[in-house]
């Protein structure tokens, strides 16, 4: 007998790492060539890996939920001697020390046996993670005792009803878009969160941020939203103050197009500013997987109705986790709605490659001076961060003031 190890392959043209999602075999199992042994999730997909060997599983070298680099041995199989060795996978002898795993996690030997665990297909497992549902708590209704997508959906709707299910953690029930977190948990940084982290660091390192803010009486914007909702040609279209802010951005960029631009460092040390022809409006969405910024391309050529529809479409897909990579590259300016979390403003960080990001705060009734007297008005704070390499104070302020003026007095 000899032990052969299966090293995590690059299953997607240049990937560097993958997460071990679920073992389909356990120590002691007999495996045949091409038998599915493990589900892994890469930046591109959840895929099932087949065994290249026939023999007896002698070790699961990486535990579920761990991210490991390509090339890490993940499975050890006892094969009968003289079994041909696959190119690229040397024979490791018994007692060989395993490579240390990069991410801390429970020792593989202590990992629970998989065979008795809940059964679900990889996309369903991925959805469960997205929804923060522990598969062990789900009653399966699918064939062979599989947990189905519907099972999860049923569970997540009952869960959203206050006070219904005990699986809701307190953190999760507080605000939608804030994923559940257990006390004392150590959270691996990967996927959407890692992408967000890298983008934010890059942005802060490269772009000198300037942040300005202004409060605006949005009575007329609120009226306009109400009016549009009642209009026959807007039937079935979701119109919100965010729609009007998006329209205000498009309108205001006409006077200060420099706010819709990208800085390029050239290889020879010089630099250029590309002023975009069109406006691709990024919308920051707190999705269950973390912050994502899909964009709506070509908003400058849209009617208000098209704009409303396009924003709804892309944010729904973001929340459902069905964005495609193209949704997230190519934005030219970003709008973020921090008001939904009950705050007024902040210092937004630019989406890398963009010159400006506008945050809209909550709409709050405030004492407001109108014609020399006090009145109660719905007021919103707007915060604009811009890249001071591209946008100077005059242009940035003009743009912000124009957005505010439009919201104060929108023309539809």
């Amino acid at each position: 007998m000899s032990t052969q190890e299966f090293a995590l392959p690059d299953v997607g043209e240049g990937l560097t790492e993958a997460e071990i999602v679920r073992w389909r075999v356990t120590v002691g199992d007999e495996v045949s060539v091409n038998q599915a042994i493990v589900d892994i999730e890469t930046a591109k997909a959840v895929v099932e890996l087949p065994s290249p060997f026939a023999g007896t599983v002698s070790g699961l070298l990486v535990s579920e939920g761990t991210v490991v680099p390509v090339g890490t041995p993940i499975l050890a199989v006892e094969v009968r001697d003289r079994e041909p060795v696959l190119i690229g996978y040397g024979v490791a002898h018994e007692g060989t020390r395993r490579r240390r795993l990069r991410t801390a996690g429970p020792a593989p030997a202590e990992a629970p046996a998989v065979t008795g665990g809940p059964r679900a297909k990889p996309p369903v497992r991925a959805l469960a993670r997205t929804l923060g549902i522990d598969l062990a708590t789900v009653t399966p209704t699918g064939p062979h005792g599989d947990i189905t997508r519907e099972d999860l959906q049923r569970m997540s709707t009952t869960r959203d009803t206050p006070g219904s299910s005990s699986t809701v953690s307190i953190a999760q029930s507080a605000t939608s878009g804030v994923p559940a977190i257990r006390l004392g948990e150590v959270i691996p940084v990967r996927g959407v969160r890692r992408a967000m982290a890298e983008a934010m660091v890059r942005s802060m390192e490269q772009a000198p941020h300037v942040t300005e803010w202004v409060d605006v009486d949005v009575s007329r914007t609120v009226e306009l939203v109400e009016r549009l909702r009642g209009r026959a040609d807007f039937e079935g279209v979701r119109v919100t103050p965010l729609t009007i802010v998006a329209a205000a951005i498009v309108r205001s960029l006409r006077r200060t197009p420099i706010v819709n631009a990208t800085w390029h460092d050239l290889p020879d040390g010089s630099a250029e500013i590309e002023v975009h022809r069109h406006v691709n409006l990024g919308i920051a969405v707190a999705s269950p997987r973390g912050l994502v910024v899909p964009h709506v391309p070509g908003v400058d050529r849209m009617s208000l109705r098209q704009l409303a529809e396009a924003i709804t479409e892309v944010t729904e897909r973001a929340r459902a986790g069905t964005l495609v990579p193209a949704d997230s590259v190519g934005g030219t300016i970003t709008l973020t709605n921090v008001g939904v979390f009950g705050v007024d403003g902040g210092t937004p960080i630019l989406n890398p490659g963009e010159a400006a990001i506008l945050a809209m705060g909550r709409i709050l009734d405030r004492a407001w001076v109108v014609n020399g007297g006090l009145a109660v008005r719905p007021v919103m704070e707007l915060t604009l961060s811009f890249d001071h390499r591209i946008v100077d104070g005059a242009a940035g302020s003009t743009f912000l003031a124009d957005v505010a003026a439009f919201l104060h007095d929108p023309v539809d």
Binding site: V11, G12, E13, N34, A45, V46, V47, L86, Y89
Partner: protein, 354 residues
């Protein structure tokens, strides 16, 4: 699937007569087609597994599209010539290319190891649509040679949106080139649905070029055989090009790097699984008494052997010599390539690698 397609075999495996496409296929040929589909499928499954175990950089699954591929390849005569994308595993199976050779490209060993002239199939083309032009150029060469061969030019629905395909159609039509354009409309170009490529059926486009077109059930191997054969014969007799749109479906991912669950429903995939090309051929052949259990078991065993052979062959593949990449750039020695080769040689020597 739309009903406006030519179909000679229903999903239930019943033979349907079509007045424009009478077909008399003898049992031997039908059995051969059955075997070709089974073996192509096995190559596909095994290659996908080899990619997943790190032996191949990439693989382009064919599951669901083998029907039209095998049918159309059976329609070709030995001197006819085909140009394909990266997905026509079924055609290579029929034309007798050892499936082991299909792996070379995806292991990064060579662009192609078969001799296109011998096999009558060009190398895999990754650049979408470019080989439509090569097809027409080859076909115009046939015209100038005065031969009675014809060319089969295969590409996908996505390729129809490229400029190259448009130019190819213009030249083919204006010069009455002996070429048949076979579009496998598998509904998706990676994550882009065919509805983003065309507002009308793709076959309708042919009219604009003054070219006849036929829409066929791409999961029906018999329609693939009969319609392609008629079109190739028309081409070789001087009738000019034909456009065939084979309506089919890619049931697997676009490539092993793709995750189709991100852009389409399981329901769609299941629907097309119920229209499987192999299932319907098997039902038909069983009802005809053309195959029995002994035959299907033999083919299944052959497929198993093929899987083992592919695994063993991968282990035996040697990495190519770095300098080999300069060998087949031009037919004749070329100054620039020779200079590049010499530079590479110096570089390798400086690393003391060789």
């Amino acid at each position: 699937m739309n009903e406006d397609v030519v179909r000679l075999l229903s999903p239930e495996g019943e033979r349907i007569e079509h007045e424009d496409y009478p077909l008399e296929a003898d049992h031997d040929q039908l059995r051969a087609m059955y075997r070709d589909i089974v073996l192509a499928r096995r190559t596909d499954v095994e290659s996908t597994a080899l990619q997943r175990t790190g032996e191949l950089g990439l693989w382009c699954p064919v599951l669901g599209q083998e029907g039209v591929q095998v049918g159309a390849a059976h329609a070709m005569r030995s001197h006819d010539y085909g140009f394909t994308t990266y997905r026509e595993v079924g055609m290579f199976q029929v034309r007798g290319v050892d499936p082991v050779e299909l792996l070379h490209l995806y292991r990064g060993i060579s662009h192609a190891s078969w001799d296109p002239r011998e096999v009558g199939l060009g190398i895999f083309t990754i650049v979408i649509g470019s080989h439509a032009l090569h097809s027409v150029g080859y076909a115009m060469g046939i015209q100038r040679d005065g031969a009675d061969d014809a060319v089969l030019s295969c590409f996908g629905d996505g390729a129809t949106s490229t400029g190259d395909v448009h130019e190819a159609m213009v030249f083919a039509s204006v010069f009455s080139a002996p070429v048949v354009f076979l579009v496998q409309n598998n509904q998706w170009a990676i994550s882009v649905p065919v509805t983003r490529q065309a507002r009308a059926p793709l076959s309708v486009r042919a009219a604009g070029y003054g070219m006849p077109s036929v829409r066929i059930d791409g999961n029906d191997v018999l329609a693939g055989l009969a319609v392609t054969r008629a079109a190739l014969d028309r081409a070789r007799e001087g009738g000019g090009p034909t456009f065939i749109e084979a309506v089919t479906y890619r049931r697997g991912p676009h490539t092993t790097s793709d995750d189709p669950t991100r852009y389409r429903d399981d329901g769609e995939v299941e629907h097309w699984a119920s229209l499987d090309p192999l299932d319907r051929l098997r039902r038909y052949l069983e009802a005809e008494g053309a195959i029995d259990e002994e035959f299907t078991a033999r083919v299944a065993a052959e497929a198993e052997g093929l899987g083992e052979r592919l695994r063993a062959a991968i282990r035996g593949m040697e990495d190519p010599e770095p300098l080999g990449m300069f060998d087949h750039v031009y037919v004749e020695p070329h100054r620039q390539v020779q200079a590049d080769r010499a530079a590479m040689q110096d570089y390798l020597a400086s690393l003391e690698l060789r």
